[in-house]
């Protein structure tokens, strides 16, 4: 039997799990509040998903169009989320994002500038005005490096290449977390009064995705096992434009900034097909001729926006339809053309990493030829259910922020609203943890039995004589989700998916990793599979529960939004024997916010003085 006293123990007031934008911002706040703070991450510092974000960070600063303000950002976010967002979160996010951007600038971020020397802002899908603060198409790198360079001087202890396995509890409240060092495979116990999860999403469950190996939903699964709730997980964002060729990069993201900067989508007949897919609700604000769309691009404020910039769910479904009806490109996507829209030097300046990515990986020059693109699993709108102001979960002392938390985006996320989410709610999670710890009368204790069973669960994978190959189970899972729980869903397939997931659970229970525990990716893969399976099952069950089509969730057997769909959020929690699924009734929004969300633009811009 394992001797607990031999396991390394590290004590902090608060431990942050995840060092993307959300985790780093949370840790910085904790430290600023005087807490002894530790942060753990699976990879090296600075390599989290946030580094890959391209297009920008949404904040209504009004630098490019002075009509912009937080109310319009709030309205766009609610409309983009098909009104299923948590009202208060959407409000806080829109109000606080500009201050968080200014703070980043003080910490060293160098955003692209306007002619007047202010922070420049670009157009993006679903955002009424140019709103995305950016640096070319590498905004995530700027964000994470800024937080990293600032954070390392704030007395935060960074534990990198260290993977959290499961949370520890003292009664109801959280008491810490057990993790292992990737380098040695040794275990470590982090004792803490509060834990902040900032572990990102779980799109590694689909075969075509834009995510890295880290995105296995560890935080979601840890919170679930510890008694937390998952919310809105039926809403997975399939980004409309992933690379489709060559096979080895299938799914790799092509930023929406290509369309924001004028790129258009064409089918194999050369037709700009998005004009045929404008939803009624957006018709009044969308151009209906190419001529008008082009005028808008040139800055004509009387023109309406091009249909390529409709929300991502709409564009992804349109692409899927074009391909299915035989109007796709040679490798099963559609064409995205920027070559005929912008001069080569501007493409290279505004979209350098896209230029580079296609040149190096697909042997294609985007200043000369159109790209081939198709939908790719990209982002989790749903996640751990949290309090809108403090980010606390149902488990006392457990907080969540960033992509692993739910609420801000509702049924669909607008591009750029994630990076702003990270800094707004990362900070709030830090404040929440501080408030919680201040009220704590004694330090929670860790429990030897819990530690033992967590460690055993991980070492069993190495110690058993034989078992299935973790990589092959993962591939199997990805194909299952792609096939049965993809962009377009239907009861029958979802049911088949559930049966398949049961089979995969059995496989995973006897998974075997070869080799020792030292820097062993096969072992990590096997450990992460357990989390990914929980996430996959949660999506599947939530997708069955929501019998309508809304945002990122489309049911072929229940087309269109239904009024009833607006009255609840789907909540998943751990029951005594399996997953519990229930509908949580939504509360009425505060009157002021509701009228704002449904107001006309003119009213919010204050042009009519109302």
């Amino acid at each position: 039997m394992l001797n607990i006293s031999e396991i390394q123990t590290i004590k902090h007031d608060v431990i942050v799990i995840g060092a993307g934008g959300a985790g780093l911002r949370a840790a910085i706040e904790c430290s600023a509040q005087g807490l002894n703070t530790g942060i753990v991450c699976k990879s090296l510092l600075g390599k989290a998903h946030t580094v890959m974000a391209e297009g920008g960070l949404a904040a209504a600063m009004g630098n490019v169009n002075p009509h912009d303000n937080w109310k319009i950002h709030f309205r766009d976010t609610m409309r983009g989320g098909k009104f299923l967002n948590q009202w208060r979160m959407a409000e806080l996010h829109a109000k606080e994002a500009p201050a968080r951007v200014r703070e980043l600038e003080e910490w060293g971020a160098v955003f692209d500038r306007t002619k007047d020397g202010l922070i420049n802002q670009r157009n993006f899908g679903g955002h009424r005005y140019p709103r995305l603060v950016h640096v070319g198409d590498r905004t995530g790198l700027e964000l994470i490096r800024t937080l990293q360079d600032h954070g390392i001087h704030q007395g935060i202890e960074v534990h990198m290449e260290c993977t959290a396995l499961d949370l520890l509890k003292d009664g109801d409240r959280v008491a810490g977390v057990v993790a292992y060092w990737r380098e040695t495979g040794r275990f470590v116990i982090f004792q803490a009064k509060a834990v902040i999860l900032a572990t990102g999403g779980a799109c590694k469950a689909w075969s075509i995705n834009s995510n890295s190996w880290e995105y296995t939903g560890d935080g979601l699964a840890m919170a679930y096992r510890a008694g937390g709730e998952l919310m809105d997980v039926e809403f997975v964002q399939f980004h409309p434009t992933g690379m489709v060729w060559p096979p080895s990069v299938r799914g790799t993201l092509v930023t929406e900034a290509v369309r924001g900067d004028g790129g258009i989508l064409l089918n194999n007949k050369g037709k700009r097909f998005m004009f045929g897919y404008i939803p009624e609700k957006f018709a009044p604000e969308t151009a209906d001729t190419e001529e008008e769309a082009n005028r808008w691009l040139k800055g004509d404020t009387s023109a309406r926006r091009p249909p390529e910039l409709l929300t991502r769910d709409v564009v992804a479904r349109a692409i899927k339809k074009e391909v299915e009806e035989g109007r796709g490109s040679p490798h099963g996507g559609v064409f995205l053309d920027i070559a005929n829209r912008l001069p080569a030097d501007r493409i290279k300046k505004q979209l350098p990493s896209m230029y580079h990515q296609f040149k190096e990986l697909a042997g294609l020059d985007i200043t000369k030829e159109p790209m081939e693109v198709g939908p790719t699993a990209h982002y989790w709108m749903g996640g751990i259910r949290v309090d809108s102001d403090t980010q606390e979960t149902r488990v006392p002392g457990l907080f969540a922020c960033g992509e692993c938390a739910a609420g801000l985006h509702g049924a669909n996320r607008l591009g750029g609203n994630s990076l702003s989410d990270l800094v707004v709610f990362g900070r709030r999670a830090g404040l929440g943890a501080k408030a919680y710890i201040s009220k704590l009368s004694n330090t929670p204790k860790t429990d030897a039995g819990q530690i033992q069973s967590i460690v055993k669960g991980a070492t069993d994978i190495l110690n058993r004589e034989s078992g299935k190959n973790p990589y092959l189970i993962h591939e199997d899972l990805q194909n299952t989700m792609q096939k049965y729980v993809g962009i377009l869903r239907i009861e029958e397939e979802l049911q088949t998916g559930l049966v398949e997931l049961e089979r995969l659970k059995k496989d995973t229970a006897s998974v075997k990793a070869h080799g020792t525990s030292q820097f062993n990716p096969g072992w990590s893969e096997a450990i992460d599979l357990r989390n990914l399976l929980i996430c996959a099952e949660a999506v599947n069950r939530a997708a069955l529960e929501r019998q309508e089509s809304r945002g990122g969730h489309s049911r072929l057997d229940y087309p269109g939004e239904r009024d009833e769909g607006l009255t609840f959020n789907v909540i998943i929690s751990k029951g005594n024997d399996g997953m519990n699924v229930r509908k949580e009734p939504r509360k009425d929004p505060p009157k002021e916010l509701a009228s704002m969300a449904y107001a006309t633009l003119e009213a919010l811009e204050g042009r009519h003085g109302s």
Partner: protein, 257 residues
């Protein structure tokens, strides 16, 4: 069937190790990282390799391929002509942890030694104003994905092992970024000479050549820093004037203010 190709991959822990040979089917469009993943999934589940983005954005997958420091996710298989075996090994400048994974912690320690930006006050309306052209050159440095390939090739670190005397090209351009930042108020010049070792670099430009982000590290960061060091110690008056009136009053450095 996709054509097969031979690979010699370094396997081992710490100072112990050897090349193992693998024959792998190579599909169109594959990069070296795909080959390693294929070996991992089908043959050696525990082959240690770092990666994250698979698109040249995170800098995790640096290694030496046929002796050249490269990002394995951006090295396409069709760039190798003939059918000689392809040799894949870890970065030489850093100690091996296992297989292709090296201990790069030293780099993180260097960054921690560098004082961050301390900006001057905002304009009265709450904004900072900087002309795009005054930040173009620091944005070049900020493209860095911290792959540490430049650190790997720099002979001061690689052959002379002077990690205690020189922070290396990656952190020289981090220093240049801060020194050239139009809002910055910290003076790092004495430390650049004394603690960070600007004098150790003898401008061989190997670092610039391997940088996957094409950052002109030597020309645009290190040489200007060396010039600043020289002019400071040569002409302190010039320096004081620069700090009081801003760089524009002295030699043009492209700043807006």
């Amino acid at each position: 069937m996709a054509p097969k190709r031979k690979f010699r991959v370094w396997r081992g822990q710490g100072t112990e190790g050897r090349f193992e040979e693998y024959e792998v089917a190579v599909d169109p469009g594959m990069v070296v990282l795909d080959v390693l993943h294929r070996i991992q999934a089908e043959r050696v589940n525990d082959l240690a390799v770092r990666w994250n983005c698979k698109a040249g954005k995170c800098g995790s997958c640096a290694m030496e391929i046929n002796g050249k420091p490269k990002l394995s996710c951006m090295t396409r298989m069709d760039t190798f002509k003939g059918n000689e075996p392809i040799t894949i090994q870890p970065m030489k400048t850093f100690d091996v942890i296992k297989d292709l994974v090296t201990d790069v912690r030293w780099n993180y320690e260097q960054n921690k030694r560098i004082p961050n930006l301390k900006p001057k006050p905002r304009d009265p309306d709450g904004h900072y104003r900087m002309a795009q052209k005054s930040i173009d050159r620091i944005q070049e440095f900020r493209k860095c994905i911290e792959c540490f390939l430049c650190q790997d090739v720099c002979h001061v670190l690689r052959d002379q092992d002077k990690k205690d005397k020189f922070v290396g090209p990656r952190f020289m351009h981090r220093l240049a970024n801060l020194e050239m930042h139009p809002l910055d108020t910290v003076d790092r010049i004495p430390a650049i000479r004394r603690d960070f070792g600007s004098g150790m670099c003898n401008i061989t430009k190997c670092c610039s050549e391997v940088c996957p982000e094409s950052i002109a590290i030597t020309d645009n960061a290190i040489i200007p820093l060396k010039e600043r060091v020289v002019s400071r110690y040569y002409d302190p008056v010039l320096w004081i004037l620069r700090k009081i009136f801003g760089p524009k009053k002295t030699k043009s450095c492209g700043c807006s203010k």
